[in-house]
């Protein structure tokens, strides 16, 4: 194994907190990706649906996805800030 790899492993081992944060970041990104796909699908459906109850339902679903994604993006920013500038412990 190369020295670089070994050092990376050691660093990961020593900063368990950061590893957990990276894991969290990865999971949130995965969920955000799912939401993005759903958003695209709903936007396409919204364009094809005439105004009415169904149109309103889809718009409402999109509104929820925006709110959820906003939460997710904020959390990602927060975590990114932390992993780049780890607070002294």
């Amino acid at each position: 194994m190369k020295t670089k790899k070994l050092l990376a492993r050691l660093a990961g081992f020593l900063s368990a907190d950061q590893t957990a944060q990276r894991e969290e970041l990865k999971s949130i990104r995965k969920v955000l990706k799912k939401l993005k796909a759903k958003e695209r699908d709903l936007t396409a459906r919204l364009e094809q649906t005439p105004p009415g109850d169904e149109h309103e339902e889809i718009a409402q679903k999109l509104q929820v996805i925006y709110a959820q994604r906003r939460k997710g993006v904020e959390r990602v920013r927060e975590l990114k800030g932390r992993t780049q500038n780890p607070s002294p412990s």
Partner: protein, 620 residues
């Protein structure tokens, strides 16, 4: 194994054993050897179970995605555990919980049959040459010391060491017993020549295995009897074939208590072993010839019958695998096509059976499926409760039109259906959960159990609310007064939408679905409730509706809210993402009650669920 002994006529067995102990001290020694051997296997089983609950499951899933991997896994695990029965039964529980496919299960069973042959080599090669009891003693001492430790892992290793120790000690006693037995009674005088003898000894081998519930123990008996000249080499070959058949019967008994997947696998096991045995019996002469030649090739002397027997055992099992492996896919398809569930009412649990309790992962997986089954029953009942057919909910048809065009209320005795399809299943789920709780569980498993128990309760609450709603719905749902009819249509439409949305989420690919979609349903329910109340208040203010019918409507809207909220909560537990990290990520992105209340257009005070029984007092 334990189940068999419970069902066996125990007094008769004890009587026979007692007589045997009284008549022959050698018999006593042989019986003690078998008992120690079986106890050793129980200890091994217990030891390996200490390591399940995560690791074993993960390894199993990764090791069974290809046929060759399944076979290799079966060989390795059986070689390590020295019990094909245990591997087969655990595999049945995994197939039943749909954690691995039927084809993968068949592969593991084939591998287990091959893996079990290593036992014959171990006993024949080592057990009867070396003073095996000498190795047993340290294993027993170390085992007991480890058993007294607090760490579960050390205790598990302790059970494994004890298992090995007792296995060795069992072999030793059997050997001693047979050696002494030899002088008193010579079985070799009863050799029956020809095919009749082969069939007879195959039957005897099968019987011994079924009684002892272990082909390993039977092989031990065969090998020690052969070593002491009690039986001839030819009879030993037939007995070994019988031992193989007997082990399939043991698994079949275990498989019969499993669900459909488990039954199919048990049938595959029996088919495989019967086929292998038939080939071995038909070609026993040719096989013996092949063993002689192969034995000579690997340097076995002509009179080394013990190792030749082990070679025969390996050879005929290998032949079975080679013959059947290419047809695994065909066998799987045939089993799925021809082995179908007996028609039974839906209220019986489909996934809960004792075998599912083997490991926490299978138990929780089975439980999740069963709660899903309960949800499906509730889905049908609630759909009928709002006078819509299930096919309408499941289709793409406009729900608004379906509700508007309803011409009759579907007659439904909710109490009856509740008793038959919901309550009994809910009770079975609760009983199963208490069974699991009696075992050792990780924190994550405890949380999952709690969520599933809560989901089951939520479903029951939704059904209870349906009962109250349905009473008024049948009275006013198709009212001639358009104002009343329209309000009830709104209630019915809301419930139907929730049923459809959840159904769609549950049938989507788990890779693309997220529980976050439930937030939009929650918002829709909140919005609909608010608009309903605002509408109703306006009608009351304008004196267009009597206050008594308006009160009934308010109660009914509350029941509808209960039904929807409980269904949403229940599906939250059913739509679990694959990893814990994703669960937590979804939790962080999910909208809380205040967010939803704000988005619904009101203040941030959320509307919460009330218990159905509290509403009962005010029901209109």
């Amino acid at each position: 194994m334990i189940r068999f002994w419970r069902q066996a006529p125990l007094p008769l067995l004890l009587l026979i054993l007692g007589y045997g102990f009284w008549v022959s001290p050698d018999f006593k020694e042989i019986a003690a050897g078998v008992a120690l051997f079986l106890f050793g296997m129980l200890s091994l089983e217990k030891g390996f179970k200490a390591f399940t609950g995560g690791t074993l499951e993960q390894v199993l899933r990764a090791s069974t995605n290809r046929l060759w991997k399944s076979i290799a896994f079966g060989i390795t695990s059986t070689t390590l555990m020295q019990s094909s029965t245990l591997v087969s039964l655990v595999t049945i529980s995994f197939v039943s919980a749909e954690m691995i496919t039927l084809a993968a299960g068949i592969g593991v069973i084939m591998g287990a049959n091959l893996g079990t042959t290593t036992g014959a080599w171990l006993i024949a090669g080592l057990g009867l040459r070396v003073d095996i009891a000498g190795y047993a003693m340290p294993a027993l001492v170390v085992g007991v010391i480890l058993l007294l430790q607090r760490s579960k892992v050390l205790q598990g290793i302790g059970y494994l060491a004890l298992g090995v120790g007792f296995l060795f000690l069992g072999i030793h006693y059997m050997k001693e017993g047979f050696e002494a037995f030899q002088g008193a009674f010579d079985l070799s005088g009863y050799v029956i020549p020809g095919i009749l003898g082969v069939l007879l000894y195959t039957g005897i081998g099968m019987l011994i295995t079924v009684i002892m519930q272990s082909s390993h123990a039977t092989l031990l008996v065969i090998i020690t009897a052969l070593a002491t000249g009690q039986i001839s080499y030819d009879s030993a070959l037939a007995l070994a074939i019988g031992a193989n058949l007997g082990s399939a019967i043991t698994t079949a008994i275990g498989g019969m208590t499993a669900n459909l997947g488990g039954k199919r696998l048990a049938i595959a096991h029996v088919l495989f072993n019967v086929m292998t045995a038939t080939v071995a019996i038909v070609f026993i002469g040719q096989m013996a010839w092949a063993v002689d030649h192969l034995g000579a090739l690997i340097g076995l002397a002509d009179d080394e019958y013990l190792l030749k027997l082990a070679l025969f055992h390996t050879l005929f099992n290998l032949l079975g695998v080679i013959l059947l492996a290419p047809f695994t896919g065909v066998l799987e398809r045939a089993l799925i096509k021809y082995v179908n569930p007996a028609p039974k009412s839906r209220e019986k649990p489909l996934y809960l059976y004792p075998g599912a309790l083997e490991t926490p992962a299978t138990a929780i997986s089975a439980l999740r499926k069963e709660v899903g089954h309960l949800y499906d029953n509730a889905h049908d009942l609630i759909a009928h409760g709002v006078s819509l057919r299930r096919s309408v909910i499941d289709s793409d048809q406009s729900l608004a039109d379906a509700v508007k065009n309803t011409r009759r209320i579907i007659p439904l005795d909710v109490d009856d259906v509740y008793e038959a399809k919901i309550k009994s299943l809910h009770s079975d789920i609760i009983a199963f959960i208490s069974e699991i709780q009696g075992r050792e569980l990780s924190q994550q498993s405890v949380e999952q159990l709690y969520d599933l128990q809560q989901a089951s309760r939520d479903i029951v609450e939704a059904v209870k609310a349906t009962k109250h709603l349905q009473k008024n719905l049948s009275r006013h749902g198709l009212s001639a007064n358009p104002l009343i009819r329209e309000r009830y249509d709104v209630i019915r439409l809301q419930i139907a939408r929730v049923l459809r949305e959840i159904r769609q989420l549950r049938t989507q690919d788990p890779e693309t679905v997220t529980r976050l979609s439930l937030d939009a349903i929650k918002l829709s329910v909140q919005k609909s409730g608010r608009s309903f109340t605002a509408d109703l208040n306006e009608l009351i203010r304008g004196r267009r509706l009597s206050s008594s019918i308006a009160t009934s409507m308010m109660n009914d809207e509350n029941y509808a809210f209960e039904i929807c909220s409980n269904l949403i909560e229940a599906s939250h537990a059913l739509l679990l993402p694959p990893t814990r990290a994703e669960q937590s990520a979804e939790g962080q992105l999910a909208l809380n009650e205040q967010d939803i209340a704000r988005m619904a257009g009101g203040n941030s005070n959320p509307r919460t669920r009330t218990h159905t029984d509290e509403n009962e007092k005010t029901a209109g």
